[in-house]
Amino acid sequence: MLPASRWLVLATLLAADTGRAAPPAAARVLELTAVSKDAVWTLDEVTRTSYWHASEPHGEAASTTRQFRPATIVARKGEQLLIRLRAFDNEHGFYVPDLGIGPLEIKPGQTTELVLDTGKFAPGAYLYLCTKNKCSDRHHWMRGYVLIYPESGHFDAPPSMTEWGAPEVFPTMSQLVKVPTTSSRERGQALFTIKGCIACHNRGGRGGIRNHNYINDTVPRLNNRGELMMLFETEEASKVIDVLDKGQDLTLPLLQELGVPRPGSTFSQYQNMRTIIHGGRPDEGKKDVNGPKPALTMPEWKDDLSTEDANNVLGYLLSISEYEDGSIAEAPPPIPEVLAPADYQTALERFDRPARLGPSTGDSVLKAVLIADACVFLGLVAFRARHRKSVPGEQHEAT
């Protein structure tokens, strides 16, 4: 007999099947696994053994060196990809903003299949990234590109993979940031990175990641906090930053004493920003009212950032804002530009794993077992029904 729970699983699997497009026969299968320890989406095979071997050889502390290779997905325009997404050790999110994919929630123990018809998109480099802010302290590393090459030939102008951080850019970003123990602007900057603000608001708070159906289209930039707090000149901003760098709260009397031009407004905006940092913005404005919830929402950080932390982060954001008479923080060193390889073959050799064709997930096996179970059960029912017909007494009893 098929237990009720198995019926449920079978029904779910069959329902899921009808709801998604069947992968075309010629789809190339890619298995993309998220690994928190290395903070990476990888095409490498990740099994329990390779995982421990890769990250913690001989029981040593987790290596800060990237072991699993970050994935760059390479395709020719028109190619069908079946991407199987797995999370090895933690919940992750998979979002390719400019291909309209996700964010998909990827949970350990599940495989999420995604059919990507590259024929629908112009050749180029498309960022993918993790959207689970708290997946690890290097959440912002979990990103890479989907490279769609022209149907034939090569890129005349290879697209840049720099803006959001390609794997090659990581060495400049990837020194494991340590959070200073004492209040400071450096602490604010470290928290901005480690807590993952940087993942959506970008390096230097430049913003700009596409947020589908969000009223302003993209994630807000944060390097304009100065003007939003009515601090227009470096001199007045510096006074406020000094307070925040110490982890102290801004108060109205304090702002009046500091002589900022509009203390009331500065204080209101400060309170407002603190509220948003701690409470998040679960109901971001929709562009199309009848459309879906925006893809990304500001999470609440009250359990992850103390008031001192939040003040340090705001101090850092004020320091990277532009003012009428210049800037306070030194501009960070430019990140060397990384271009995608011009031709498909080079990219494939450099980034891709050998393609594997055909079904291989446990999903199919489970489905087969459950269908077999169901057949046996239905057979039994039919057999019993036929048997009942031949015994009129029983039928009579039943009525």
Binding site: I215, G264, S265, N272, D283
Partner: protein
């Protein structure tokens, strides 16, 4: 008369406004100059004090796509400003300035109003969206103008007399300018923001 107005409201309104002006009214026209081009826009040029006894009209400040429109709204003391909401999301309107007010949170197509009875600058903010900033500048008289992209302004219907012309800009300052308006003529003024 009623029929004429219903047929030609624009013309009638224009005619009425012309009739209501003192025949000999003049004006002040000029330009706001700034080192950075973006500073020329949204500057309020106004007469500090003038004889004025009219009744203030209503004014509107809209919210659309999470932006207050206009950015700066000069009004005469006593004006009631209607704060519209043309966004699908709820908005809040408050000001930490002057006597301070908070109109609460309200949804699309709802309007809340506030009567500005004290002269001065009110920063208008929204607790929900901290990038939304506007200013209501409450003035003693209606002789004011807001500059466009090119910094040009024109104050109309100014009674003849000697005035002090003042300037409000979000980020910059300018010295007051003495202006004399003669009967039926337009005085000129150049404003230098620094």
């Amino acid at each position: 008369m009623r029929m004429t107005r219903s047929l030609l409201p624009t013309i009638a309104a224009a005619a009425l406004s012309l009739l209501s002006l003192p025949a000999a009214a003049g004006g002040i026209a000029g330009k706001v100059n700034a080192k950075v081009a973006k500073h020329k826009k949204n500057v309020v040029v106004y007469i500090e004090s003038a004889a004025y006894t009219g009744t203030p009209k209503e004014a509107e400040l809209d919210q659309k796509n999470q932006v207050f429109i206009p950015f700066v709204l000069p009004v005469v003391k006593g004006t009631t400003v209607k704060f519209l909401n043309n966004d699908a999301t709820g908005h809040n309107v408050f000001s930490p300035d002057g006597e301070k007010f908070d109109l609460g949170v309200y949804s699309k197509d709802e309007t809340r109003s506030y009567a500005f009875k004290t002269e001065g600058l009110y920063t208008i903010l929204c607790k929900m969206h901290n990038s939304m900033i506007a200013y209501v500048l409450v003035l003693q008289n209606p002789y004011f103008a807001v500059t466009g992209e090119d910094g040009a302004f024109k104050i109309e219907g100014v009674p003849p007399g000697e005035y002090t012309l003042k300037v409000w800009s979000e980020r910059k300052k300018a010295e007051p300018i003495k202006v004399t308006v003669a009967e039926g003529s337009v005085a000129t003024a150049e404003v230098e923001l620094r």
